[in-house]
Symmetry: C3
Subunit: 156 residues, 3 copies
């Protein structure tokens, strides 16, 4: 099977952050295969080889649960987020699967308009063609900062 | 008529922000068809369906007027701006016209070098092929922050 | 000779920032031809036509020396960086060589997790095909801020 085109990879990334930044979180788990691997961790933990992280999910059901718990917790006046992705590096590509690394920056916009950088890091992804769709088999979100956000209010 | 290639869409976006960040504002209205629709609004107003915004223009002449008034107002020592665009989502594409959504982040660099995030948001665009050119039929700039900048010193 | 595809240009940019942000600086000089031109300067100096800058190198050996001196200087607890590139404008393309302009933003993540914008600016590049590789014949890094960083701790 041939490699996946860059255009399809870019479209997947664009659709993923659009879903999150529009707060359409119920559609977010559908970007993943089932089973899958979704981990949010820090650069330090990742470098040290710690498998866990701030968030760990290996089925789509766990992602759905996570959205439900975020919806339950969001009782306060909420901030919004804006993801900006850099260009992906395609490290491997063939057999209907591609391994890519994509840097990201997320801005957080508070209710009074104050804007700061909420997170930066890199997505370590394995994407796989599933029929006409392209989905994440694996997404390791490596955050540059080790500061733990006690309530990580959105998926990354 | 066929769809517009992603490469042409990316090139249009890149040329647009290059024009603004190089302060070549006199060339900026030429990125639009005439008539057109150019609106800068907030996410909150956009969600509530308010048609207006901080800036509203529906002819190229109004865009030209806007540049003239910015040039007249800029008597103070000026800051510079840097746009960084994320990847566009192509929502519709066909008949020589494409509808896209593209996230943006704008940094503001003050004269003393201090740099902060000036604005984040998303461009809601309709682009149309006009001969060899690609131009904006419609650009709704939805800013994440509702804080009104009393003097919005540049086009977004 | 034909022009260089956008896909190859994007891949070069992605690989370059990946190398730096992964702190694999020893591989960084290999992104350049030898001789080459690598300059880091400010927008103000660039506009005034000053040829020099904060950093100037015109051989790969000078880039290698620079990495060695950065490695020697980095005795303190170090921060990390994250480059996010915008979309490149391809200004000329033909004869196996392309001239491009690409905006960038670099975030700096301090050891305590505090994140701010370290630098913004634009890469003015000439890239050239060398066999299967694509390398920088010239990279002028024009930083928006004129504030001189007395110890510029990483390549841009």
């Amino acid at each position: 099977m041939a490699g996946i085109t860059l255009e399809r990879i870019l479209a997947l990334h664009a659709a993923y952050i659009r879903c999150i930044d529009r707060d359409e979180l119920e559609a977010w788990p559908e970007f993943f295969l089932d089973p899958c691997l979704y981990v949010v961790t820090s650069a330090e933990n990742h470098r040290l080889g710690f498998p866990g992280g701030m968030i760990y999910a290996d089925t789509r059901g766990m992602l759905i649960d996570r959205v439900a718990s975020l919806r339950g917790a969001n009782v306060y006046e909420k901030q919004t987020y804006r993801h900006i992705l850099g260009l992906p590096s395609v490290l491997k590509n063939g057999g209907g699967e591609a391994e890519t690394e994509t840097p990201f920056m997320v801005a957080r916009i508070m209710h009074d308009g104050q804007t700061d950088i909420f997170a930066t890091g890199v997505y370590l992804d394995v994407v796989r063609a599933a029929g006409n769709d392209l989905k994440f088999a694996k997404r390791i979100v490596v955050c540059d900062s080790s500061r733990i956000h006690t309530l990580l209010a959105l998926p990354l």
